[in-house]
């Protein structure tokens, strides 16, 4: 017993060390950006991890210009619209893939995988030309459409995995209890799929929110420029001023919605919600 205990605690310590290493590796850059955003212009390059002189000036600066606020509005609007559409379409498609047998199902799944694999950078130039011809360039739909294209495969994949987890017998039971297929979906399947839907929504939202390639290529003005693209246009008040502080502050600000989003929906993403439905 003593030996066994020693082994487990030794293992615990080893795992703890590995965990800490991973955490440090992942969090240090983030903390560094946070630290930079609180530094004054004078101490910016002093190399200290903890700012010697704290300031909120950088935050005040970014919110003082319309440049950043406008980009933030674009980012939120575009990401939310793209997420909603991709998740709604993805839910329907995933349900069909998980539950129904229809001709061309394998082709559909294959195609969506193909789209997800496609290097986005090779599409930027054609998209740029197409959107200019269609008048979509530098508009919200001009970004929403490509985002949906790339988010759909992701949402179909994640959601169909979730749908497969829901016992099919529940749907049969609902039908036997007198539900129409629509009622069965709305009252039984949808509530059970909710965690999957929220997980997918978060993934898709992050995908759209973080995109830089399309945002920089398919926009030209404040009309639709999202934050990641807008950040690259940040300048100091003069040409010779270093915008590092304001960029860091903006980076921190745009990370917050993601964290909030995850925290809100974390409770909904409870694994094993379907437990108790069937035996075991």
């Amino acid at each position: 017993m003593v030996m066994g205990g020693a082994v487990t605690s030794g293992r615990k310590i080893r795992w703890g060390l590995v965990d800490i290493l991973v955490l440090v590796f992942a969090l240090v850059p983030v903390l560094w950006v946070v630290s930079l955003s609180f530094k004054t212009k004078e101490t910016l390059t002093d190399g200290n991890f903890i700012p010697q002189a704290w300031t909120f000036q950088n935050y005040a600066d970014i919110f003082a210009t319309t440049e950043f606020i406008r980009a933030l509005v674009n980012s939120i609007g575009i990401a939310i619209i793209a997420t909603v559409i991709a998740v709604v379409l993805g839910t329907m498609a995933a349900y069909a893939i998980a539950r129904l047998d229809f001709p061309g199902k394998q082709i559909l799944v294959g195609l969506s995988l193909l789209i997800a694999m496609f290097p986005q950078v090779s599409l930027v130039t054609p998209l740029f030309n197409i959107e200019r011809q269609l008048g979509l360039f530098d508009t919200w739909p001009g970004l929403i459409l490509p985002y949906i294209t790339f988010a759909l495969p992701l949402s179909i994949y994640t959601l169909s995995a979730f749908f497969r987890e829901i016992p099919w017998e529940l749907e049969k039971a609902a039908k036997m209890d007198g539900a129409t297929p629509a009622q069965a979906f709305r009252k039984v399947i949808a509530p059970l799929a909710a965690p999957g839907v929220f997980t997918t929504a978060i993934l898709v939202f992050i995908l759209c929110w973080n995109d830089f390639l399309f945002a920089i290529s398919l926009t030209s003005t404040e009309a639709s420029r999202t934050v990641p693209a807008a950040l690259s246009f940040f300048t100091g008040s003069s040409q010779f001023e270093d915008p590092t502080g304001t960029i860091s502050a903006a980076a921190v600000v745009i990370t917050i919605p993601i964290i909030v989003f995850v925290l809100i929906f974390q409770r909904r993403i409870v694994a094993g919600l379907t437990s108790g439905a069937v035996k075991g």
Partner: protein
């Protein structure tokens, strides 16, 4: 409450597999009918067709005299209890049971009174506000039953509802299922692969094999007069013993000895135009320790001597296992039964015989024993068709 009629109902899958073939069954109003058979015999498919969860390829299904082939499950007014219970995990027990009523837009007061009533019958009143995840297997099973009974459907369909329970609970639930059905008097179609459930629950039992109905009848009738080798081997536990035998001038020669056929058996065999080579079947309880019988009793049968391989004393009786010399009786039916029970994997030469002896028997493991069997109870089967040659209505 209703009569359910299956009229030459068949199910053919798109890949050409015939799961159910021309099944004719009439389930009377208020009857408890059990569909039994080994896995893959088409019993669940048949149930799903009655439920409306699977299309009927050919034939007609009538509920209360009306054709319902094309009706959706919700329009058939029948309730189903699933093997996995299929409870809605996001709803409380109360909402689970109320779900069918809510869909039918029944007002709240009626819903509550009906759910409370069902909960009382099923002893679930204390658990109404819990969720399925927090219930035990037996409680979940009862909730599934409750969901079926709250709305007074025309019929209950049950798909192996007890197979996920442990043995003791299964026994208790078996009794309560039977009690509830009698109490409500609702037509019930019950699917199981367990012949004990079929025997104890059913008013009548339908034995299915490979999508074909083998025999329909009361459990006792099926036990005493199996129509063929398959039914004989499937119904009864421990199952009937089969040995190859030869019919000659009114005597039956088998590894169990040579025995004169009784008049009753002889007449039946002659009427059935039996072949010379047959398969003889004897139920375990038709054997007895020869030492416990007097001569007049022994006259009605034959005695053989064999070594007891295994002796299982159950207190009230003893099960003695023997191996008798000679070939094993083999037919496709017996092979299927053996595969279903897993006994085909058990090695050993000769025929294994199980006998049920009186607890007064002096049988000992490893010792030879004189065993008598009742010649009048012997059932003879045609090895090629499996037909019972001693079958009588």
């Amino acid at each position: 409450m209703a009569e359910i009629v299956l009229d030459k109902v068949s199910k053919k899958y798109p890949d050409g597999a015939l799961a159910v073939s021309e099944v004719d069954i009439t389930i009377d109003d208020g009857e408890f009918l059990v569909l039994v058979g080994p896995s893959g015999c088409g019993k669940s498919t048949l149930l799903n067709m009655v439920a409306g969860l699977e299309d009927i390829s050919a034939g007609e299904l009538r509920i209360d005299g009306r054709r319902v082939n094309e009706k959706a499950p919700k329009d058939r007014d029948i309730a189903m209890v699933f093997q996995s219970y299929a409870l809605y995990p996001h709803m409380t027990v109360r909402e689970n049971m109320a779900f069918p009523l809510r869909l039918a837009k029944v007002d709240d007061r009626t819903v509550n009174s009906k759910v409370d009533e069902a909960a009382k019958i099923l002893d679930l009143t204390a658990h109404l506000d819990r969720r399925p995840a927090n219930l035990s297997g037996g409680q979940r099973q009862r909730v599934a039953m409750g969901r079926a009974i709250v709305r007074n459907p025309k019929a209950f369909l049950m798909d192996e509802p007890l197979s996920n329970l442990d043995a003791k609970l299964r026994g208790q639930m078996r009794t309560s299922v039977s009690k509830i059905q009698k109490q409500l008097g609702t037509t019930t179609l019950y699917v199981t692969h367990d012949q004990t459930e079929a025997m104890t629950l059913g008013d009548r039992v339908v034995v299915l094999r490979g999508g074909h109905v083998q025999q329909i009848g009361s459990p006792q009738f099926l036990y005493e007069n199996p129509a063929n080798l398959f039914v004989a081997g499937f119904i009864g536990s421990p199952s009937m013993n089969f040995v190859p035998a030869t019919l000659e001038n009114g005597t039956l020669r088998s590894p169990l000895g040579t025995v004169e056929l009784t008049d009753r058996v002889r007449r039946l065999v002659e009427a059935a135009d039996a072949p010379r080579e047959v398969i003889a079947g004897v139920r375990p309880e038709h054997f007895e320790d020869a030492g416990l019988l007097d001569d007049s009793q022994k006259r009605g049968g034959s005695t053989f001597t064999a070594q007891v391989d295994v002796l299982e004393s159950m207190g009230s009786e003893k099960y003695a296992h023997f191996t008798v010399e000679g070939e094993q009786a083999t037919t496709s039916e017996l092979a299927e039964l053996a595969a279903d029970s897993g006994s085909s994997d058990v090695p050993g030469g000769g025929s294994a015989i199980v006998t049920r002896l009186s607890s007064a028997s002096s049988a000992r493991e490893g010792q030879p024993l004189d065993v008598w069997f009742n010649a009048d109870k012997v059932q003879l089967f045609d090895p090629s068709t499996g037909k019972n040659l001693t079958y009588s209505e």
